[in-house]
Structures are given as structure tokens and as C-alpha cells.
């Protein structure tokens, strides 16, 4: 439980209302309430049950013991007063007034012992509702006093250490990759027009490699793209790759003099990642 006793104002009595900044610590003994306070007064109640509870409690009465005639008189006087002030009164207040009047009249009517047994105390339902309301009203007050985050207690945190958050890398199956490709193929006929053949795939790989080996700023000697130990097939594949790259305008060949060395240069600055 929070014990914020420091913050409790040092005063004899709590103000029950503030009217134009002035604290009012005592309710007038009669029912008269300064007109300015009425609206505030009404706002202070959470409905007719709350107002009734207030009327009962301020007279030190027990709910089970309510003098229905007196409470009804007081309640209706408040309601009348508010209506005179033309305050917007929730319909529930009027319904309660009617209910009280009805209970009062039933209490006044002489009843046979029989019917009393049958119907019980005409106040019973009202008492039940008042008690029921009061327990939740109290519960609400108690919830309000529970140590609350951001008011009475605060989450404690420290800076996390510098760390590489291990990215759990997603697993991909080659099968999934192929299935995905198949989907594309099914969707697209574009592959049929220039279907990539087995050799072409290898040429494509070599194209990537050649492109990775040259750049736009300097010349790479054509012959360095080939490696004799790759054998004839390797040389052919590289050569096809170079031709394909030229065709796709990705590289250009430069020969400054007849029979001079041939240089390869990327058409556009090649970025390496």
C-alpha cells in the first residue's frame, strides 16, 4: 500500500467541494446548496444509487435501516432542485425517484400479515441494489489505492549490453526454391521463348564471374579472363560468356591497334557488394 503521508494536506477537514476556487468543507445543514455548486454536486455522483448512498451515509444510517419516507423526501427535493436549475438530469435519477415514491406508498399502505410474508419488505430490492452498488464502489476505491505502475511504482530497466543479436537465419530448402521457380514458370511463358539450356546456365554463371572481374575504370586484358587449365570447354564457356555480355551491352572490348592486346571494360561502373 502506498504510504504517501507526506502529500496529505494538513487540515482539519477535507473540502467536499470547490466552488469558484473556494473550498467548502461543510455541507449546509439544510438542503440548500449554493446554485453554483449544484452542477459540481451532481457531477460528483455516479448516479441515483450513489446519491442515495450519500444521503444515507451522511446521516450515519445503515442501508438496512433506511427510513424510506425521509430519504425519499430528501432525494426528491434534490431532484426538484436540480430540475429547477434546469440541470440536465439523467433519466436514471427520475426513475429512482419514481421507485422511491412507490416503495414509500407501499410502506404506508396497511398490509395483511399474509401479504407481508409474500412480498417481504418493500425496501428489500432497493436495499439489495444499494448494497450491491456499495461493494463495487468500495472495490473501485480500493483498486484506486493499489500500487499502480507509473504512479506508485515504476518498471526498472537497465540498458541492454551491446550485443550482436544473433539473427536466426531462415532455413530454405532447395526443394522450396525449385518449387517456387516452378510456380513462376507455370505463371509465365516468357521462359519458353528463351529457355535456358544446360550449357547456357553455365555460361550465365561465367557471365557473372567475368562481370565481377572487370570494371569501368580500368582495362582488363582479355586473355586474363581465360585459364588454360580449364581446358577447351572452359575457354569456350568463357568466350560465350564474353560474347553474351557484349551482346547485352554490359562490357565492351577495346583494341587500340591492330593485333594489339584486347582489353575488356565494363560499360558502366561495376559495383561490388
Amino acid at each position: 500500500m502506498p504510504t504517501a503521508s507526506e502529500t496529505v494536506p494538513q487540515q482539519g477537514e477535507m473540502p467536499f467541494a470547490k466552488v469558484r476556487g473556494e473550498e467548502i468543507t461543510q455541507l449546509p445543514l439544510d438542503l440548500y446548496i449554493p446554485p453554483d455548486a449544484l452542477e459540481v454536486f451532481l457531477d460528483a455522483f455516479e448516479g441515483p444509487l450513489d446519491l442515495l448512498l450519500y444521503l444515507i451515509r451522511r446521516q450515519n444510517l445503515e442501508i438496512l435501516d433506511i427510513p424510506i419516507a425521509e430519504i425519499t423526501r430528501q432525494y426528491i427535493e434534490y431532484i426538484e432542485l436540480m430540475r429547477d436549475m434546469r440541470l440536465e438530469l439523467a433519466a436514471e435519477y427520475l426513475v429512482m425517484a419514481a421507485m422511491l415514491a412507490e416503495i414509500k406508498s407501499r410502506m404506508l399502505l396497511p398490509r395483511s400479515a399474509e401479504s407481508e410474508e409474500e412480498e417481504g419488505d418493500p425496501r428489500a430490492e432497493l436495499i439489495r441494489r444499494l448494497q450491491e452498488y456499495e461493494r463495487y464502489k468500495q472495490a473501485a476505491e480500493e483498486i484506486d489505492t493499489l500500487p499502480r505502475l507509473g504512479r506508485d511504482t515504476f518498471e526498472a530497466r537497465a540498458k541492454a549490453p551491446d550485443m550482436k543479436v544473433a539473427r536466426t537465419e531462415l532455413h530454405v530448402d532447395l526443394k522450396d526454391l525449385l518449387l517456387a521457380l516452378k510456380d513462376v514458370l507455370v505463371r509465365s511463358d516468357r521462359f519458353t521463348s528463351h529457355q535456358i539450356q544446360r550449357e547456357a546456365l553455365s555460361v550465365r554463371e561465367r557471365m557473372s564471374n567475368v562481370l565481377g572481374a572487370v570494371n569501368a575504370d580500368s582495362f582488363t586484358e582479355f586473355t586474363t579472363l581465360f585459364e588454360a587449365k580449364e581446358g577447351r570447354m572452359g575457354v569456350v564457356v568463357t568466350f560465350l560468356a564474353v560474347l553474351e555480355l557484349i551482346k547485352e551491352s554490359l562490357i565492351e572490348l577495346i583494341q587500340s591497334e591492330p593485333f594489339g592486346p584486347i582489353y575488356v571494360k565494363a560499360r558502366h561502373d561495376v559495383q561490388r557488394s
Binding site: 470547490k18 441515483p48 456499495e134 468500495q138 489505492t145 506508485d152
Partner: protein, 224 residues
Amino acid sequence: MSRDPDQLKNIVEGALLAAGQPLTLDQLLGLFLDEERPSRTEIRAALDALIADCESRGVELVEVSSGFRYQVKTAMAPWVSRLWEEKPAKYSRAVLETLALIAYRQPVTRGEIEEVRGVSVSSHIMKSLLEREWVRVIGHRDVPGKPALYGTTRLFLDYFNLKNLSDLPDLADIRSIETIERELDFDEADGDDSRAKALAEEPEQIQVAMPKEATETAVQEPQH
């Protein structure tokens, strides 16, 4: 796996403070790889040791609904709350009463809340409770109109420092006419004034408080 108990304690402390939100026992276990994973008993022991370590400190390690968390002790609140210019949100009685009814009577419909409170519950109130994620719709009553049934969330419990609903303050008993007569000549004056204090702390929230006599009688209430 044998492990320095201090290391385990330190890992748990570091994780709870770095997380900045409650962590469950399972989440704490999840910090360890299979081969180094301590048992639940070991983690529990580390938590207990950490709780004991807080005794004379400014923070405490508590278990709330969604797990364990470090929090600043309420005794420090008057100073620590000055870190923020904004005053913590205050909730109107209408909000608190509606929340209390949902907390204690869940699952409950809006109609049932209105019945007890004797006034209609504004949509605004329900909306703000739902937005705060203190309350959620947990179903619909199978009656015409299929009204939504409301219940509270873990966040609600976390926010109010509760581990579960049974930690809520006890509801006052409904007393029958017979019991009251026995009680009437029983304890008059010794109420706890904490409620009166709570009221006094928040005068602007409650614009009108009870006059003194009324407060005192109300104070006699819940005995817990």
C-alpha cells in the same frame, strides 16, 4: 550442468532489467542453450536470491501476472515520479467502478454493469478501458443481441501489481437484515483512514468528497 550460482543470478538479473517488462520462468529458461540450461528449481532459486538481495534497496523484484519484473519500491515514488513532468493519469470514479465490476464479475456484459451501477456506462469508458488493454471482449452472451462479455487482461493485473485475480482486495460482504442487527453495536470509530487519505490526495479528481460524517461511516466497511 554445473554452474556458478552467481553467474546464473547475474544472467537473470541482467535479463530482467534489460527486458524492461515481465519475463516468465520459461522465457528465462529460454535464454540458455540446451546444454547449459539450468533447471526450473535453479532459476527459481536465483530469483529468490535476487528478491532477497533487494531488501534494503530502492527496487524490488516481484512476480506479477505476466512474469517477474524489477520495479521501483513505492516508497521512492514521491521522488522518482518527479522525473516526469506529467502527472500520472487519474481515473474517474465511473472508470474505476466499471473496471471493478469487470474485474470482480467477469465475464460480464455492459448491461449487467449498468444494472449494478444504476446508470448507463458510456461507450467512451468502455473504449478507454479496451484501448488501455485492461479489458477485453472474451465472448458473447448467448441471448438476443449477443452482448459482448468483458474480462480483464494480464496487463490489468501487471499494471496494478497483481499476480492473479484472487489478489484483488476482497469484496465487502452483502449483509442481510439479520446480521446487521448484531453488528450495529459493534466497532464504531476505528476505521482505517487510508481511504480518507486517498480521497484527500486526489481532491481534483473527486471534486466533491463525502462530508466528514459520511466518510467515517463508510470507513467502517471492508474488514481485510
